[in-house]
């Protein structure tokens, strides 16, 4: 199956669609965050523009784009304007590498007098053999955009906020990276698709050459049952990585005005927002993939579902497409639950103090992640 014009075009369009998927999720999340916080705090939230305030998003976008484009005199203009654009890149590159559903098969067909295909299109931007390493490497580039914005603004609040954010991001990168070592030990692969395939089927432990299957057959073989501490550490570190409360020290209003984007307004600030929400989405997608079976559905494997759909009278290709769509929905349900947890936590917990934040990262989470790694390795060594 060589690359031809059709395949390259579809893949290019797919990359743009993944990017737009991420961008269009941001206004929905902002709306959800405002309505959700309003419900949590016994308020109404935005409810004037359109049904349930849903058109508030459109009004916000119009407001953002009609704002005056402004840079203060002391700003370093190249950095000041480049930072928001660069803030989009790491988030999107990492997001495109997360598999969202089963590969989509297109059988061979006739068009313009020649035969095309068969093709296999993955429901993700691109498949990368070393998925985890790529995502970790790319998403940590976000620290550079924060520093660019903070230094380029020329304001002291921006600089302090950027330094705080960078120190926080790199500190929690350690706990994040180390909590994933347990996951890699468990699955023995860097590839996200292979991880999801390993989590299909009912829960079963293999120990000392025996396989123990759980009594309830619909409990899935998810990573959370093998790596509960790893999951907690990963998710807590993900909050810090995406600069969300309770770890949003970088933009503590009382101390730093707004942190590294103090001087930004209008569309430039919106782009930082997209980057920040993009990191939330990456964290949710990765938590789903590592610990909750990715696009898998509990109690049924993709092959079984394919057989059921074929029984409804679909063709092979149509059943494959429908199967892919159902798994895409399954992925998005899990993904949305994690995003809601991000929002719920933000409006529940108060902010940390900076020394508490650093102590938690270095002296609590790093040793626990190390202990988790050692325990996982020892158990795998002992039972095999």
């Amino acid at each position: 199956m060589g690359n031809d014009v059709f395949e390259i075009t579809v893949n290019a369009v797919k990359l743009i669609v993944v990017f737009l998927l991420m961008v269009q999720a941001v206004p929905i999340l902002v709306w959800l965050e405002r309505r959700g916080s309003a419900f949590i705090q016994n308020r109404f939230g935005p409810n004037r523009v359109g049904p349930l305030g849903l058109l508030q998003l459109l009004a916000d976008a119009v407001k953002f784009i009609t704002k005056e484009d402004f840079a203060p005199d002391k700003a370093i203009r190249k950095l000041f304007y480049a930072a928001p654009v660069f803030a989009l890149i790491p988030a999107t590159l990492a997001y495109a590498a997360i598999p969202m559903s089963l590969p989509f098969m297109v059988p061979a067909f006739e068009m313009l007098g020649s035969t095309w295909g068969p093709y296999t299109f993955r429901v993700q931007g691109y498949e990368i053999g070393v998925g985890i390493v790529f995502i970790l490497g790319v998403s940590s580039l976000a620290a550079y955009t924060i520093l660019m914005a903070g230094w380029g603004s020329g304001s002291k609040f921006s600089l302090l906020g950027a330094l705080r954010a960078a120190a926080q991001v790199i500190s929690y990168e350690l706990a994040l990276g180390l909590s994933i070592v347990g996951v890699i030990l468990l699955y023995g692969t860097f590839n996200l698709t292979e991880m999801i395939q390993a989590q299909q089927g009912p829960l079963q432990f293999t120990a000392f050459g025996h396989t123990i299957t759980s009594a309830v057959s619909w409990i899935p073989n998810w990573g959370i049952f093998y790596q509960p501490i790893g999951f907690l550490l990963f998710f807590a570190a993900a909050f810090a990585e995406s600069n969300r409360l309770p770890f949003d020290l970088a933009e503590g209003e009382a101390e730093l005005v707004a942190g590294f984007h103090t001087e930004y307004g209008g569309f430039k600030m919106l782009m930082f927002f997209i980057g920040e929400y993009g990191h939330m989405m990456i964290a949710s997608g990765l938590a789903t993939t590592f610990f909750f079976g990715g696009y898998g559905i509990p109690g049924i494997t993709p092959d079984e579902l394919q057989q059921i759909i074929l029984g409804w009278g679909f063709s092979e290709a149509g059943a494959g497409g429908l199967n892919s769509l159902i798994h895409f929905l399954s992925y998005n349900v899990k993904f949305a639950i994690f995003l809601w947890i991000f929002i719920q936590v933000r409006w529940t917990l108060p902010r940390f103090r900076y020394d508490q934040l650093m102590d938690l990262g270095w002296k609590t989470m790093l040793p626990w992640a190390l202990a988790n790694t050692i325990a996982t390795a020892v158990i795998i060594y002992a039972v095999s």
Partner: protein
């Protein structure tokens, strides 16, 4: 399976760079850019106090210490990744005990480094 779709990554990077730049220029075209702003507006926002030059502000040395420690420990963690991925293969080939011992030594050095960092108060913020 283990390919590196460099073309896709480069395409996406260039696309976002163009998209973002276009958005900024679009916002400038629609929102406009006023000339003759007052000196107060052109100044940076520092809570109404006349802004100081960036050269006058000093940054805590703790940030540098954190960055140095991060590089040390991050490299150590990255060295654990190839070990983790080939761990089962080594066990399957009967090399489980040697690789456990060698990684034990490595993790012991890691723990000693972390303990030393904590003890030398490099991680204390006040």
């Amino acid at each position: 399976m283990s390919e590196m779709p460099l073309g896709g990554i480069i395409f996406l990077t260039i696309f976002i760079a163009i998209f973002g730049t276009a958005l900024i220029f679009l916002a400038r075209a629609i929102g406009g850019q006023r000339k003759n702003n007052s000196a107060v507006k052109r100044d940076i926002y520092e809570c109404g106090i006349p802004g100081q030059d960036k050269k006058e502000s000093k940054v805590s040395v703790k940030f540098y210490l954190t960055a140095i420690l991060f590089i040390l420990f991050d490299i150590e963690i990255i060295f654990m990744y190839p070990w983790a991925i080939s761990f089962r293969d080594f066990i399957a080939n009967g090399m489980g005990t040697p690789i456990m011992i060698s990684m034990g030594v490595f993790i012991a050095i890691f723990i000693y480094g972390l303990w030393w960092g904590v003890k030398s108060r490099a991680l204390e913020w006040d």
